[in-house]
Every structure is written in C-alpha cells, then in structure tokens.
Symmetry: C2
Subunit: 104 residues, 2 copies
Amino acid sequence: MAANEIFRALADPTRRAIFEKLAIGSMNASALREGMAISQPAMSQHLAVLRDAGLVREERQGRFMNYEVDPEGLAFIAQWLARYRAYWPVRIEALKVLLKDMGQ
Amino acid sequence: MAANEIFRALADPTRRAIFEKLAIGSMNASALREGMAISQPAMSQHLAVLRDAGLVREERQGRFMNYEVDPEGLAFIAQWLARYRAYWPVRIEALKVLLKDMGQ
DNA sequence: CAATCGCATAAGTGTATGCTTATGTATATG
DNA sequence: CATATACATAAGCATACACTTATGCGATTG
C-alpha cells in the first residue's frame, strides 16, 4: 500500500478500466473480462497488481474469485492529496459535492 | 492532463520527491537538485514529465526556470477520486481536515 | 475419481522508462 | 562580442513492464 504501487497501478489504462468496472459492482475475474479484449492471464496479472497496491481485494467463492474495490487504496490517495490542499483551487465542483457528502 | 500522464508521473519516487519539494515552495531546477543526487538532464526530464502531466508549471526568469505546483493536476486527481467517494471509509482523518478546510 | 472449470504462475518477448554522457540553446556578464 | 550560466534535447543503454503461450493448482461436477 505504498505510493509507488498505488500510482503505478493506476498508471495503466487497462487497470483503471478494471478498477472502474469494479467500482460499479464486485465481480469475479471472468465477468471482468467480458467485453474487454484481454487474455485471462493478463487479467489475472492486472488484478494482482491492483490487489498488491491495496486498490482491490479478493474473496474466494468456490472456484471463483470475487473482486471488489478496497477502500484502503482510495483512502491512501485521499491522504496523499490532502497533503497538498494548500494548492487546491478554491472551487472544484467535485470537491463541493464531496463536502456535501461527507457533511451528512 | 490525462489520467495516464498524471498517474505515470506520480508513479516514480524521484518525481514525487521533486513535487513535494515544490509544494514547500517554488524553485528553479538547480535549487531543486540540491541534496538530490540526480544529474541535471535527469532533473530536466523529470520536470518535463511533471509539466506535461499538469502537476507542475514553469515560468522563465532570466536564464532560470522557476517551477511551481500546478493546481490543475491536483484538481484532476481530486475529481478522479470523487468518482469513487461511495467507497471511501466514513472516517478518514485527512478528509475531515479537508472538510474543515473547504468549509471556511 | 476423472474431467472440467476458474484462476494463478512461469517463461519469453517487444516496448517503455529512467538513467547516463554529449551537445544545443537562450540569457546574462565581463 | 566572447564566455559563462541555466536549462533542454539527443542518443544510447540497462531495466521494468505488459503482453503472449504454456502449464499448474484448487474446486466443482458427472
């Protein structure tokens, strides 16, 4: 769960696509492959990178592996980002939404 | 200022160190090198990667190039992160600080 | 319990990356 | 205007990365 592994994991567009898919809902590796022009080993390797980075976690379900977003990776990025909050533009729309979300 | 370039730029520890140094205060390339066991061309190349990612911006000052943090890159990360706020753990200390900061 | 299924791992390969040394290009200075 | 300074760019090289095919392993199934 180091910065190195997190940012490196997200530097690859295929891995970001996998992550976004998992953000919609947890899924096993085969389901993730659907519509993704990617070999089975490649998917497995990408998932390992995401898991080692703490962005994704897995759970065995019979002979399937269910993957889901791991909040720890996101928390790490949030904390990294918070270090530089002095430089954030005052009006980022997304952050206002965030603000509202957290305020509830 | 695409996700690819931003995350790739931050995936390198040397570039993160440069970025952190600039977050303390803007500096020219030579000043950045001080205490950083890195060649002049390497620094120049790293700064180019950070600039192309939108994480850093430059301004010519005579024969010096002054570098500073570019808020746009950070804003991009914040927005990327905001997409997954559904997965954030409820109590991240840094985010509470953030919340307070944004609220003022 | 043999066959199959879902996934992981191994080994090999082309390309990207980060570094180096050498050189180019503005700007300043004597 | 010749030289020095601050930085950028070029070219080359070792390593990392993302992919492939082949194979291994655990769990289900007939």
